[in-house]
């Protein structure tokens, strides 16, 4: 939640004090912190500099999309946002693909090299070509703070409530996110008091439509990160791929991203943005459902070529939906709010990503543990023996565990690990079905929530809803 606060603050600061300035502060700060992390002599030094890098990145990221928005007219946004989505998405997937091999062959410090090169090239280009913009036209700082606070309420409440389902009340994450929701709600009330009658005066969308758009951004990142992370785990744990091979095996996602980005750019003017978002979500849904069916049917024997094709389909759907979503959302918000609008979209995406890695992981644990226990139950084991078997499984998963079937212990370990792999595949299939359900809910919200009148307004080239 601290990162989300930085993202929203970055958006507000950029709009008020200059988007180029905040982009450069974020990028230079990030570079310095990354260099400090590489030179770290102690874990504390490393963790602090990594956290600092994350905070500076949180300032820079929303400025990037805002500057792109301010560089192109509304009707020409699809190509630049398609390129932006492809570049950043490919980098994120590429990082997971290459970071494993880089660490394996060159050591952990080398993992930072691609990031350092990219930020240096980006900085040179930004210094030379990005112009300064800050246009608080018709808005006061209170307007920015109010919109940021409202976003904080939505994101923190959604995140807190979802985490509540996972971790009950014991988790500090739940309390911190609910606290952010409370503070944001307090800011909103303060805002309404100092500017009576101005609440969302300049909002281009009704509040609920903005909430749907934010939820769409969350869902896109949630589904994509969840799909990539857990597919990687499936290949590593169930299909027994070496971690480096499992990383490289995610590459078709990037190929799909490029194809989807080109498709999105070419659809410019031919298809309303809302329909493109729905088409992209449909492709992602088909890919997720087919992956779930394949995993549940064939478990460890599912062919990689099939998974690769589905990854490409998923990547294409994500790029199509994401580019159209950014063009629709940022193209419809007032230019003076470009930084904050972009920050809202970044924050939504970040929350979606965190939910994907925590909630879906919790579901895998829950589904998998239950399936594993059921398998042991059917063998007639007593509850005490089931607990012992789970502890033995944790031991059997250690790298030094004996998995030689010629000995009694090795045979037992091998059988437990085989059971575990089957249960993991079932749990992964279940998690994919949950993700599919969330995509269906999101598509339904987009279709009905944005409403035919608003959809027509948004679809019309050059129209500025308000």
């Amino acid at each position: 939640m601290a990162l989300i606060t930085f993202v929203l603050a970055g958006g507000v600061l950029g709009d008020l004090f200059g988007r180029r300035r905040i982009l450069l502060i974020g990028a230079i700060g990030y570079l310095v912190m990354i260099l400090l992390a590489v030179l770290a002599q102690s874990p504390i030094w490393f963790l602090l500099s990594s956290a600092g890098a994350g905070m500076f990145a949180a300032l820079a990221i929303p400025m990037s999309a805002a500057i792109i928005r301010l560089t192109f007219p509304r009707d020409e946004l699809l190509w630049p946002f398609a390129a932006y989505t492809v570049c950043t998405g490919t980098a994120a997937i590429g990082a997971s693909v290459i970071s494993g091999p880089i660490k394996y062959w060159f050591g952990w410090q080398a993992m930072f090299v691609p990031s350092i090169i990219l930020v240096c090239v980006g900085l040179v280009l930004a210094l030379r070509h990005v112009q300064e913009t800050n246009a608080p036209y018709g808005y006061s700082p209170v307007d920015y703070i109010g919109l940021a606070a409202w976003t904080g309420v939505v994101l923190a409440l959604v995140f807190g409530l979802i985490q509540l389902q996972v971790s009950r009340l014991s988790n500090i994450v739940v309390w911190s996110s609910l606290s952010v929701a409370g503070i944001s709600a307090g800011l909103l009330i303060f805002w309404a008091m100092v500017s009576p009658g101005r609440l969302m005066r300049n909002a281009p969308f009704p509040l609920f439509a903005l909430a749907i758009i934010i939820l769409t951004g969350m869902t896109l990142n949630f589904a994509t990160l969840g799909y990539a992370i857990h597919l990687f785990n499936f290949m590593r744990i169930v299909q027994q791929f070496h971690p480096v091979v499992a990383s490289i095996a995610l590459a078709p996602l990037a190929i799909g991203l490029v194809a989807g980005g080109v498709l999105a750019g070419r659809r410019r003017g031919k298809q309303p943005h809302v329909q493109m978002i729905l088409s992209g979500l449909a492709l992602m849904l088909i890919a997720i459902l087919l992956t779930a069916v394949a995993v549940l049917l064939w478990r460890a024997q599912v062919a990689y070529l099939l998974l690769a094709s589905l990854m490409m389909l998923f990547g294409a759907g994500f790029a199509l939906a994401s580019a159209a979503w950014q063009a629709l959302y940022l193209g419809s918000m007032p230019l003076a709010l470009a930084g904050l609008s972009s920050a809202i979209s970044s924050a939504a995406g970040q929350i979606g990503g965190v939910i994907a890695s925590t909630v879906l992981a919790a579901l895998i644990v829950s589904f998998g543990t239950r399936n594993f226990a059921t398998r042991l139950d059917t063998m007639g084991l007593t509850p005490e023996r089931v607990i012992e078997a789970k502890a033995a499984l944790d031991h059997a998963l250690q790298p030094e565990a004996l998995l030689d079937p010629s000995t009694e212990l090795g045979l037992l370990n091998t059988a437990l690990v085989a059971f575990y792999q089957e249960s993991f595949a079932v749990a992964f299939g279940g998690v994919l079905l949950v993700s599919a359900l969330i995509i269906v809910l999101c598509a339904t919200l987009v279709w009905f929530g944005l409403g035919p009148r608003l959809r027509q307004k948004l679809a019309r080239p050059g129209a500025q809803p308000g």
């Binding site: 300064e132 007032p334 919790a362």
Partner: protein, 66 residues
């Protein structure tokens, strides 16, 4: 509305057909700069790849503990 707002910006947002080849190139270099800076921050190595706080236990691959 777009015109009135862009008037406060240093460079009005012109459509592609009103730009020279050089201006179009600069616009795409801006996209490249922004995309590279964002990409750089997205590929910061995840902490779980650098430090393994929990031993790998069943189903969570040692990344998170619930």
């Amino acid at each position: 509305m777009e015109e009135s707002l862009t008037a406060t910006l240093p460079t009005p947002i012109a459509p592609a057909e009103a730009l020279s080849v050089e201006q179009k190139r600069v616009r795409w270099l801006v996209v490249a700069a922004c995309a590279l800076i964002t990409s750089a921050s997205l590929i910061q190595p995840p902490l779980h790849q650098l430090v393994a706080p929990f031993p790998p236990t069943a189903f969570n691959a040692g990344w998170t503990r619930f």
